[in-house]
């Protein structure tokens, strides 16, 4: 049985959870707090990031390595058995899905989500009593406008974010957006194309377990878990 070491509001962890759920790959979850990783974890994965996938008790570290691992695993399955491949079958479609996934997993993450998670969740949860860094929050919100515009553009031009078929790029983006939405950072009325795409993502059964999780003391906006928002 696969085991995913994750954190509920970690966007990269969510991207892999959505992929595992969509592909209906049985797995267990083990939650760790990103601000409290111990020496044992760091010996296994010195970068100290989540998620890590344990496959036959051997670690696959980091969302990029994990999704390639899952892709190869699915390619090895009989065609009928593998319901969902993280990356599409055409060579250049795959390259585009990897480019777009990287954009959401790394660039949107570094320019927006990590700032907000750090200030709104990680600092208070880990017991740091300093007030939030408002300039970091301002930068994140300014960057978010550009990222939502780009997401809207892709959602408007294409059936799915990386092309004609749903891919890991959609789950990478949906994972980030779901965390930002939990934090109340998204004004959906300002970006109808992105909203339309996110409504389709949210209604997939793969999304259900994530939408029902709550952080003690931190509630999302009312519409967060609604399929009609």
């Amino acid at each position: 049985m696969l085991k995913l070491i994750h954190y509920t509001l970690c966007p990269s962890s969510r991207a892999i959870r959505l992929t595992l759920n969509e592909a209906e790959i049985p797995h267990e979850l083990d939650e760790l707090k990103p601000w409290g990783l111990d020496r044992e974890f760091l010996n296994m994965h010195p970068a100290g990031t989540l998620p890590v996938l344990m496959d036959e008790k051997r670690p696959v570290c980091g969302a990029s390595a994990i999704v390639e691992h899952l892709q190869e695993r699915q390619m090895g399955e009989a065609k009928s058995a593998a319901r969902f491949h993280p990356f599409p079958s055409g060579t250049f479609e795959r390259a585009e899905a990897r480019r777009a996934s990287d954009w959401f997993l790394r660039k949107l993450d570094a320019e927006v989500t990590q700032y907000l998670l750090e200030e709104k969740i990680y600092k208070p949860m880990s017991g740091i009593r300093s007030s939030p860094d408002l300039s970091a929050i301002r930068v994140a919100r300014a960057n978010l406008r550009y990222h939502l515009a780009y997401l809207s553009y892709l959602a408007d031009q294409r059936r799915w974010l990386a092309g004609d078929s749903m891919s890991f790029a959609d789950f990478a983006a949906a994972a980030q957006i779901s965390v930002l939405d939990y934090l109340g950072e998204i004004q959906w009325d300002d970006c109808p194309e992105a909203k339309n795409w996110y409504a389709r993502m949210k209604s997939r059964p793969a999304f259900r377990p994530l939408l029902s999780e709550r952080l003690p003391g931190v509630n999302p906006p009312q519409a967060y878990a609604n399929l009609d928002f």
Copy 2:
């Protein structure tokens, strides 16, 4: 014919060039300056990073997508024809090579090399006349000590950085180190294990074309291109 859009001192570009050379894959080079990417380039690759590989005039954007593209291409070749695969053949060995590649391509890059390139090369080359940000340079140098210690540890514990076989992790690390060495940032006497590994990398024919390139007005230390340093 493949064409790689690159910049001579861009570490990610160098990692792909070394991989193409090692695998003896014929390709052309087209050099762009990272500080002067035009609208046409950004339409193709909105993240605005190098390198981009043009394959049959279609773009594969970013070092991660390119190396997976080259891996798949090599897997498709007859066994005898493909001399070098970027990632090893064992599933978990591949995961470890991807983890280590990510470390060098992303983490070392963000924590060390990009600061130094920005202050020492990109700012002056692009005509920005402000003096270099000494605090950025200090942070980069402090981080470099930890990164050289980790590189030395891997070089001491393993035959190659990700395990028993040479992989993209070695080229990702060697690309970063070669840029830092060009900038005169590495004191080789302080890290004999890393030096030993880098001497092996430098002596590969794949490395030769890179070591002979010079930036106008910016010369590397005397030992930069020497195989015996």
